[in-house]
Amino acid sequence: MSQIRAEPMLRARGVNKSYGALKVLLDVDFQVAAGEAVGIVGPNGAGKTTLFGALAGSFPITSGEIYLQGQNLAGTSSGERCRMGLARTYQVPRPFLGMTVFENVHVAGMSGAGLSSADAAAEGADILRDTGLLALANRPTAALGLLDRKRLEVARALATKPHVILLDEIGGGLTEAELGALVDLIRQLQASGMTVVWIEHILHALLRVVTRLVCMAEGRVLAEGNPREVMAHPEVQRAYLGSSPE
């Protein structure tokens, strides 16, 4: 297990989320150190995306505490968390469909990073180049295919200049070459000091980036630590792959 510094970049303590009788997150403890890249795996319905929603403030949690750089996020809105440096992408892309690709990134730069229109435009152009979207900058987002929409999810989150980026299954549906380019991009982000938390089913891509793995099942954290040890854990094998190793 990698060393966790005294002051984690992002920390969830005893987080619970229920919808009526349905408990989606159960006492989740989770933390990420500054500059660390952590992967989250688990079967469908494990609560991974709900954990992202809880961290990003998309909905109120039932109980528990979430801290960003030591600051308790209780009572802060999703918008405030973003401006504090916590960005997220959505598993099913949610672009602003009435706007162009560039306008999506431009508004994120102005609102999330607090940049002027001119600076957000310049930074936005750089991000679109890095994410392979520059040629499509002036196209309406409604005309984009799934892959480009996923790229735009990452580009728009990066435009807010986050300290932490929560990536939700951005690799699904990509070709090997596209996945390779995406992995390179995320490694660059991490090398620049950004903290990365990545939910992904494509393990070989995930393992090229993350140094620590968290496995969730049925709303709980089953195991966490060194990726190979986590994947070899019998409970993880049973929950994630449906069988335990002989």
Partner: protein, 327 residues
């Protein structure tokens, strides 16, 4: 960092702005040689442009489809009646009444902006009806009979007509220019993001409630200014007319027929609506039939409104708010 500039305004748009500025100058001196009827009709056209611009700001850009803007038309009129009754001169009262209406809109916003889509639309309408009922209980209004702002009769009719005309022209110009600046800036981009996906908008750092609130209050003040100017020209205030849902229907028609979510569409829609009223106005019920037929024809053949003439060819409409990257 590579500087990739935003593309500037198209030269055709620049010419259009010069044309609009020239038209403004001509309109400002028009009463010197135009007939009283022309001045009255143009005043009404300016009021329509204000209504259309404000409703487009609300529904077209922020996605707040209200059918209750008549609440602010009526409240503006009512506040003006009350202020004039308290001894305030009528012309300053127009603007003070509109600002007071903005305070009411601010109070209402905490409630109505928690609602979405259909709920929001219905809530705004219900509140407008509730306010109408409350206003008609005020003894000074005399129920549905209404009241007249007799203080306006202290002015000579020509003077009153000219003052209302110039005030309507100036506020229309200010509102159109103000909404241009607002939409060009960060608020405009944020409103569009909220309109498209409110949760995703919050996730990129937008304070969604505050942006919606700002636009709701501005659009309410705008409708109140237009409404009180209309009242000043009509002199008589009746709750059923001031708070009539027809105001929202007019706004909706002009914006949809012109092109929702575009800057120029509602202005074109207001011009078309004005022309329809002029053509069919003397035919009684046929007037409503004519407006209805035009609405149906647009829905069938030009669903994006007049601006569809450009958009359907893959071109930007004149005075577009699109921000293009020079790539």
């Amino acid at each position: 960092m590579t500087k990739t500039p935003l593309l500037g305004m198209a030269s055709a748009d620049r010419r259009l702005i010069w044309l609009a500025a020239s038209a403004l100058a001509v309109l400002a001196i028009l009463p010197a040689f135009g007939s009283a009827l022309a001045v009255d009709k143009l005043t009404y056209l300016f009021i329509l442009i204000m209504f259309a611009t404000m409703w487009n700001l609300l529904a077209g850009y922020a996605g707040l489809v209200s059918v209750g803007q008549q609440a602010f038309v009526g409240l503006g009129g009512y506040a003006m009646v009350r202020m004039v009754d308290a001894g305030l001169p009528p012309f300053p009262a127009i603007f003070i009444a509109a600002l007071c209406t903005g305070v009411v809109a601010w109070a209402m916003s905490w409630f109505v902006l928690r609602m979405k889509a259909g709920e929001f639309a219905i809530a705004t309408w219900v509140i407008a009806e509730a306010i109408r009922a409350m206003v008609s209980f005020d003894p000074i209004i005399q129920g549905e009979t209404g009241t007249s702002i007799t203080a306006l009769n202290a002015y000579a009719p020509e003077m009153r007509r000219l003052t209302i005309y110039l005030l309507a022209l100036a506020t229309t110009a200010l509102m159109v220019w103000g909404s241009w600046k607002l939409l060009q800036g960060r608020t405009g981009a944020e409103a569009q993001a909220i309109r498209d996906d409110e949760e995703a908008a919050a996730s990129v750092g937008i304070s969604t409630f505050q942006v919606k609130q700002r636009i709701y209050i501005l659009a309410s003040i705008g409708c109140a200014v237009a409404g009180t100017l209309w009242l000043a020209s009509a002199i008589t205030f009746q709750p059923r007319t001031g708070f009539g849902v027809q105001w929202s229907v007019f706004m909706l028609f002009m914006v949809l027929v012109g092109g929702i979510g575009t800057f120029i569409g509602p202005i074109l829609g207001a011009l078309l609506f004005f022309a329809l009223q002029e053509i069919f106005g003397d035919f009684g019920a046929w007037y409503l039939a004519g407006v209805g037929i035009v609405a149906i024809l647009f829905a069938l053949y030009l669903p994006r409104g007049i601006v569809g003439l450009w958009l359907d060819k893959g071109r930007d409409e004149p005075l577009t708010m699109r921000k293009r990257l020079g790539i």
